[in-house]
Symmetry: D2
Amino acid sequence: MRYGYLGPETTFTHQALLQALEVMPREITEQVEQVPFSAVATATTDLLAGDIDALIAPIENSVEGGVSGTLDVLAATDSITIVAEQIVQVTFVLAAREDTALKDLEVVSSHPHAQAQVQGWLRGNLPDAHVAAASSTAAAARDLAALSPEQAHGRAAVCSPLAAKHFGLTVLAEQIEDTEGAQTRFVLVTREGRIPARTGADKTTLVVHLPHNRSGALLETLEMFSANGVNLSRIESRPIGDFLGRYSFSLDVEGHIEDRRVAASLRALHRICPVVHYLGSYPRIDGAHPEPREEFADETYDEAHRWIEKLTGMVAPEPDRA
Amino acid sequence: MRYGYLGPETTFTHQALLQALEVMPREITEQVEQVPFSAVATATTDLLAGDIDALIAPIENSVEGGVSGTLDVLAATDSITIVAEQIVQVTFVLAAREDTALKDLEVVSSHPHAQAQVQGWLRGNLPDAHVAAASSTAAAARDLAALSPEQAHGRAAVCSPLAAKHFGLTVLAEQIEDTEGAQTRFVLVTREGRIPARTGADKTTLVVHLPHNRSGALLETLEMFSANGVNLSRIESRPIGDFLGRYSFSLDVEGHIEDRRVAASLRALHRICPVVHYLGSYPRIDGAHPEPREEFADETYDEAHRWIEKLTGMVAPEPDRA
Amino acid sequence: MRYGYLGPETTFTHQALLQALEVMPREITEQVEQVPFSAVATATTDLLAGDIDALIAPIENSVEGGVSGTLDVLAATDSITIVAEQIVQVTFVLAAREDTALKDLEVVSSHPHAQAQVQGWLRGNLPDAHVAAASSTAAAARDLAALSPEQAHGRAAVCSPLAAKHFGLTVLAEQIEDTEGAQTRFVLVTREGRIPARTGADKTTLVVHLPHNRSGALLETLEMFSANGVNLSRIESRPIGDFLGRYSFSLDVEGHIEDRRVAASLRALHRICPVVHYLGSYPRIDGAHPEPREEFADETYDEAHRWIEKLTGMVAPEPDRA
Amino acid sequence: MRYGYLGPETTFTHQALLQALEVMPREITEQVEQVPFSAVATATTDLLAGDIDALIAPIENSVEGGVSGTLDVLAATDSITIVAEQIVQVTFVLAAREDTALKDLEVVSSHPHAQAQVQGWLRGNLPDAHVAAASSTAAAARDLAALSPEQAHGRAAVCSPLAAKHFGLTVLAEQIEDTEGAQTRFVLVTREGRIPARTGADKTTLVVHLPHNRSGALLETLEMFSANGVNLSRIESRPIGDFLGRYSFSLDVEGHIEDRRVAASLRALHRICPVVHYLGSYPRIDGAHPEPREEFADETYDEAHRWIEKLTGMVAPEPDRA
């Protein structure tokens, strides 16, 4: 089994994959081959083609927001299914080769998103250092480790603690991120096929296009969730791409498609929205287990269903004159 | 087959029954025995006991509003089913015995509801006449017809044209009602059993109690209809009777329980309301045939249902470690 | 000062007036002359003509529901203002002349509404007695008291304990009502003029006609209250009278017109409903003092108002080319 | 007057500025100095410090979605005001030095966003070319123009037609974008101060934080617009940054703060949302002039306001005993 991730080794996405593997049974993880990719789009193509079996990708970051590349891939197809989520605590270190002092630093390299998250620290502590772009935080660390000691002089990388350790770098400063406690959420996707069973602590991900001939369409869509007691935990708008003002919405809702209240909401969306992509129901990483109010419990839906079945069973087969 | 009505003969309820029989096939109407009652409550007891097979009763009047006696009977049981409606145009005549002139009138008798609807005319035309109560407009006519010519002198009845004709009275003035075009709507009920088949031009009658622990409960209830594109054509509040501020609502909605949008609304009500009495789906007397918007059409509900069925069919039988 | 009530003396409406006078200062009550009327419509005509200064009338009963006569008078004019409410506990006694035993009774007289509320007791205890109609429970008692001892033999009245006492009758049975704890609510109305000051425990009464060209109009109307955190404590539909299916709604809401949340709701209703009659804001008889959530507090509305004032103050006087 | 833009010269943002200047009166444009910046954040700092007087920045692209950098600057302060919008049609050319043929190309440079929009064309037409990053499409063109003929051999830039022309490059292919008709919308902002006058065809931009203690908060927020007939033309969620699942929303609504319906919506938002940033009301570039329904017209709001004023004027100054 081949699992793709945004590489190279020791990226935050790689960490997410390692976290995901940790909670799987040994007989599965022993068979997993980890395959680095440079872009979600390429990895998705390989997933759909059968070259890899699963793929882990970042979907949102608590500071930077939704990850457009992943959202657009998810919006473009309903042939893939999200089967799990992972959350990685995002923290950065400033790492250099042995014997490098903070005061010697002239060049600091990292991925632009990481730079954005440490720019306050850099301005305060290394106001004169040049900031160079790398294709990932892991690549910044790896490339620094590959230099000759002379070349590496005066250089540092902003990367994850894991990357610093993996590539044998020395940590000059840690937790240098401007916003403490930032998190990135990742999703593990497979080709469409099997939806994970309901655990009682689940999440469902959707992409919907709104009916465009009606104002208030987003309101109407949210009312369908509200009418069934279903909470939204994420909402992200993305352009559909044809012209300004046309959006699709990427949504996470609490619950599993086997929860009657979720199924009822989805049926309603299917009626009113021109496009609804169901991207999967999967266990919540936080294990939270919100108990629905009685009116939204499975048994309440089932009773209502049986009541209507009984009544429609009493309808005469064809019109007569009463 | 015995059909009960609020008597005596030639009341407006009797007219409604005659109208109802007119549209039934001859092989049925030939077997119908018409049974007058003096109160809806008594007739309902007989209906539930099997002494009569159907009952016609007024439910609302365009001037006087809901008919409490009928509404309360309908609210108290879900063992009866409305199978048809009738609308009677309410018009009154002033009827007397032969050779009576308007100027001779001293006493005018009628049912209090009828008096209320002609009081303007009486004040204008017979300001000095005494107004006497009768138990129905038909009884006023019948009793006048039964008097000796001497006793009948100076007397008139406010009644329906049918009653005047049936009891051989002379019409001194017609259309004496203050509000032109008043109508009374009647329902034909049977013991629970068979719901008339869907005709495409149907109405459904319900009684609901609102959840009492939540403000905004009526709003929430109406939203369930709105979310399914179901229009209300009648809403009437009635006290539940335990204390002030607790109401049940008697509702007519457009459509038949076999219309998916009606069934979906009812399922939602069943979930949120402590009591929902389904009182029947039956053809609209006006034959109006409103076409639902595409999102509320049967086929749209059925497609959404099939989509969810397909998706839940893909759920793994039990949790595993993805 | 002349205060009208539905008479004769000792009716429940009279009791409501006595209760209302009890809580007024002596200098006012000393000047009040109590004037009995036989109908709300007549009394209202006198009120509008200036012949009386105030009028007390029943508006709803916890068993019988809304009082149509009063509701229709309130719906027809906005030239009167409700300034207070009263609630009377409804309980009935069976009263007769001295030396009458239960077993001797042949005729029981009362007002039809009262009869409806004691019919279970009568069926159980006096199955053979004839039930005769009186124009009010007080009239039944008064008329019985006026009979000669011989005429009064075998007769009883269903009336209030007050009426029995006032007319010197003997109570044969008390609390004979089928539903324990029934209440009637009364409103005290004056000619339009002065609205009672806000006490913090107030109620506001309205009559609205719904926009007839839009389905979902009742839903939309209720949303205006919900959006401003205003609870409904009474809703009663009444026909407008022109044709079936057209209703006005008589509403009580919690709060005073000087509460910003109530004023905001009324402004919204005024925009969307073709007719809104404001019938007054007045102290709640139960003194309940519900604290609005912060978002619905006066100060919150006032701050929002000041914020918009400040912003609109920054708008350029006329368009230019930025 | 100094107007900042994302430079260097001939970027799409520069084009937007030129378009904006075209519609201003000559006496203003003659005084405008165009000042290029490399980042929105830096330019905003200069704007707030008074070093420049206005700033134009991209806010959304029909293919790429919201521009996070601009949205986050707008979300972070309410000390700036949007005074105008511009829309630029996004089209790309492949530009090279004279005498370069398509088949000779080995390196193509551009900004990553531009690369994303032409990647299909590049894969199809230059599958073997190396793609190099530049800090903007204009910089790619400028840098190519600055090379010696030898250095420039085998090189091309993906840039705007304007940039190609400005830097004297030859266009090898035009309209190479994968999605035809892409547009970017720009906003022109000033330091808070004066809001452009109402033109009747206006737009208002807001940033709101939702109340976090209540599910359904987004629904509730949208209902405030719906209740006032205000349409949304853009909605974009951005993380607040403290933890996953907390969002602010950047919204454009139709109308001007002087439109009563817009002011009423904003007042309601101010009551229920912990943060509402008003970022300005300004003329719509498309000039569309949607007429509100009667219930949302200014005069309707004003009438409702006067009605409540009249009623509250009738409230007694202090409680008495009616």
